[in-house]
């Protein structure tokens, strides 16, 4: 079959009897859970990655198999449970898929999450194509169960979204029925339990490192003695094409590293070059072990690698790389309800703290009306900070703008902060509610009242929540029905000096048809 890396992970999860797949949508990870659901797996969107990870821990404490998916920055949100789940360990399997985005096709940074595997102390596998995405998902489950540890499956955009041929031959033993065994010393991380837990974790990692030397998913492809290449992930594919004559050590498990295997390989060739995307994680670690290898020049830390860039690395070519002329930039759709909102923000000369979603496009022409974007939920906190210190006449122009899915993800605590520490000039938060997670491809979320597979469920009522948190001035308005009324409401709210939430509610044009169909079916 010809399938994407994401589809391959889903297929492996389904075949392995994964009891629950959970996560939060984020490019390039989103299709894993959608496909898992289509294949009959139980898949759920969580409000955010931290909650998803915690649910997955519970599944794995009950001896079942869990997969939790997220984009690279999602793991920042889930980092808190990740680090301590490494201490507690799991009884079943817990595989965390981290989908990194080198080159930032659709992300706010290009952080290299291989560092997380090291920092948290969890094993990490890195597939290079869809076949390995399938095989390594099964292997991650086996490793997780064998050592009772969460395992990171680290993918990147070109592994997640590229399609390649998969022969789904590998299988793994079926999971035992879920069961619960009380183990307070292992799972209650008070200091007296956590101290021995940390030692247990390090002992497990030492065992896994030894296993990785002899049985890990790494392979040597013999070639010329004059050039040896050590590579991981999709960088391996680019390097194979750039230097087909070279000897290769492809690393499938990149934490803990098989240091002696690497040493032996490096000693077998005259020149040994590490080809990796992003940070020089492999090169630095290998050199720290006293093995002499070449790393890439600093300019190749930025952006994706490809065959051309690997050729340059091997040739030591650091001349400037030609940039192709840009194609048409994306923009807010014609008829997008957010266009009215941005026009009003421009007209009122607002200082806009923004957030992550389609509406981030409000930063580009013709609006250029969104002035900050940091991370999910930051609009509210950043807006409050600006309000706290700017002179009153400027502070009164500050507005926070956040989408519906983003608000549920991590805007709620920002609103609590607003009520608890209100700026003296008040504040205005606009929740752009288009009834979907539009940016990532129209996923459901708690405030749509539908599950991942579009079935009705409990619905979060955003305006009720805002009022319950203590924002009395909570308004719901369709910004397109009467743009002037919207602008007046915004102007009045700014002038009031009070705390206000304006929910600009109008469903995304691209989902309106589908929404009607769903409502008819219900």
């Amino acid at each position: 079959m010809l399938i994407s890396g994401n589809e391959a992970v889903a297929l492996a999860a389904q075949r392995a009897g994964v009891a629950l797949g959970t996560g939060y949508p984020g490019t390039p990870s989103t299709e894993i859970l959608e496909r898992f659901s289509e294949l009959g797996g139980r898949a759920q969107w969580a409000p955010n990655e931290k909650v998803a990870f915690e649910v997955a821990i519970g599944v794995a404490y009950a001896s079942a198999r869990a997969v939790v998916t997220m984009k690279h920055v999602g793991l920042n949100v889930a980092a808190d449970p990740l680090f301590t789940a490494a201490y507690t360990g799991v009884s079943g399997a817990l595989v965390v898929v981290s989908a990194d985005d080198p080159g930032m096709a659709s992300s706010q940074n290009e952080q290299d999450n291989r560092r997380y595997a090291v920092a948290a102390g969890v094993p990490m596998l890195e597939p290079a194509d869809s076949q390995e995405a399938y095989d390594f998902t099964l292997q991650a489950i086996e490793i997780s169960e064998r050592w009772g540890l969460p395992v990171m499956l680290r993918m990147t955009t070109r592994v997640c979204h590229s399609k390649s041929v998969v022969h789904p031959e590998r299988t793994c033993a079926p999971p035992p029925p879920p069961s619960y065994t009380r183990d307070i010393a292992a799972r209650v991380m008070i200091p007296s339990n956590a101290r021995p837990a940390h030692r247990r974790l390090r002992a497990k990692l030492a065992q896994i490192a030894e296993w990785n030397e002899t049985s890990g998913p790494n392979r040597v492809i013999p070639g010329s003695n004059s050039l040896g290449i050590i590579a991981d992930g999709v960088a391996f594919q680019h390097a194979r094409e750039a230097a087909p004559e070279a000897s290769f050590l492809q690393l499938g498990m990149t934490h803990p590293l098989p240091v002696e295997t690497i040493r032996k390989f490096a000693n077998s060739v005259e020149r040994c070059v590490v080809i990796e995307e992003g940070d020089p994680y492999l090169a630095d670690t290998i050199r720290a072990a006293g093995i002499s290898v070449e790393s890439k020049p600093e300019m190749f830390r930025f952006g994706e690698l490809n065959v051309d860039r690997v050729r340059r690395i091997l040739a030591g070519d650091t001349t400037p790389e030609p940039a192709p002329p840009p194609g048409k930039a994306p923009e807010l759709c014609n008829g997008c309800p957010y266009r009215t909102v941005y026009r009003a923000l421009r007209n009122l000369d607002c200082i806009v703290a923004g957030d992550i979603g389609c509406y981030s496009l409000g930063a580009l022409p013709p609006f250029e009306a969104l002035e900050t974007l940091v991370c999910m939920g930051a609009a509210i906190g950043v807006g409050l900070g600006l309000r706290h210190v700017l002179p009153p006449e400027e502070a009164r122009r500050v507005v926070s703008v956040i989408g519906d899915s983003t608000f549920v993800h991590s805007g709620i605590t920002g609103l609590v902060e607003m009520v608890y520490n209100p700026p003296s000039t008040g504040h205005v938060v606009i929740i752009l509610d288009n009834s979907t997670t539009a940016m990532t491809g129209f996923q459901e979320h708690p405030a749509t009242g539908r599950t991942l597979d579009h079935q009705p469920t409990g619905k979060l009522i955003i305006e009720d929540l805002c009022r319950a948190l203590g924002v009395a001035d909570t308004h719901v308005i369709d910004p397109t029905r009467d743009p002037e009324a919207f602008e007046k409401l915004l102007g009045d709210s700014l002038a009031s000096g009070r705390l206000a939430v304006i929910i600009a509610r109008r469903s995304c044009l691209l989902v309106t048809g589908r929404l009607r169909e769903l409502e008819r079916c219900q």
Partner: protein
């Protein structure tokens, strides 16, 4: 044909034109013909009308999923005004396929332009017509089969008439 050479195709256009659908069909048609296939593109902002490209590569064995710059054998561009952004992917002597390759032959459904251009592309490739037809059928809901198969044949006909 099963030598070591890899055939490189780049398809480009704007979000909503069916660039990714077209590359899925081409990749599937090559896969059905027994080739190793890789296909890659960037998702994300493409829904919002921005520039999109997708790479399809097939041969005996394909490593990187991305067509190296200047090595595309075929460049299919659905939005001619985006040609400059992607022209550099074509190798010297490579084949450029644009909507004007349809020679003004009217498409009954504008949304099938992607498949019509695949019709032109298909005449250059060692992939049996039946595999294209199967790939089109399996990638689209049944109600769109007729219009797209019509567009595919229209593209094939134009390419044969004018070359």
């Amino acid at each position: 044909m099963m030598d070591n050479r890899v055939t490189n195709i780049v398809i480009a256009g704007l979000g909503g034109q069916g660039v990714i659908r077209a590359s899925d069909i081409a990749a599937d048609a090559a896969f059905r013909s027994g080739f190793d296939v890789k296909k890659s593109e960037i998702h994300g902002m493409s829904q919002r009308g921005g520039f999109v490209t997708s790479d399809v590569r097939f041969g005996r064995q394909v490593s990187s999923p991305m067509v190296p710059r200047g090595e595309a054998d075929y460049l299919v561009v659905l939005a001619p005004d985006q040609l400059e952004a992607v022209r550099g992917s074509l190798r010297p002597g490579g084949v450029l396929i644009l909507p004007d390759g349809l020679n003004g032959e009217p498409l009954p459904n504008k949304k099938t332009l992607n498949v019509a251009l695949l019709g032109i592309l298909s005449t250059h490739l060692p992939i049996p017509e039946a595999n294209w037809v199967e790939a089109i059928r399996s990638s689209l809901p049944e109600k769109f089969h007729e219009a797209n198969l019509h567009a595919f044949q229209l593209g094939r006909r134009q390419a044969t008439v004018h070359t």
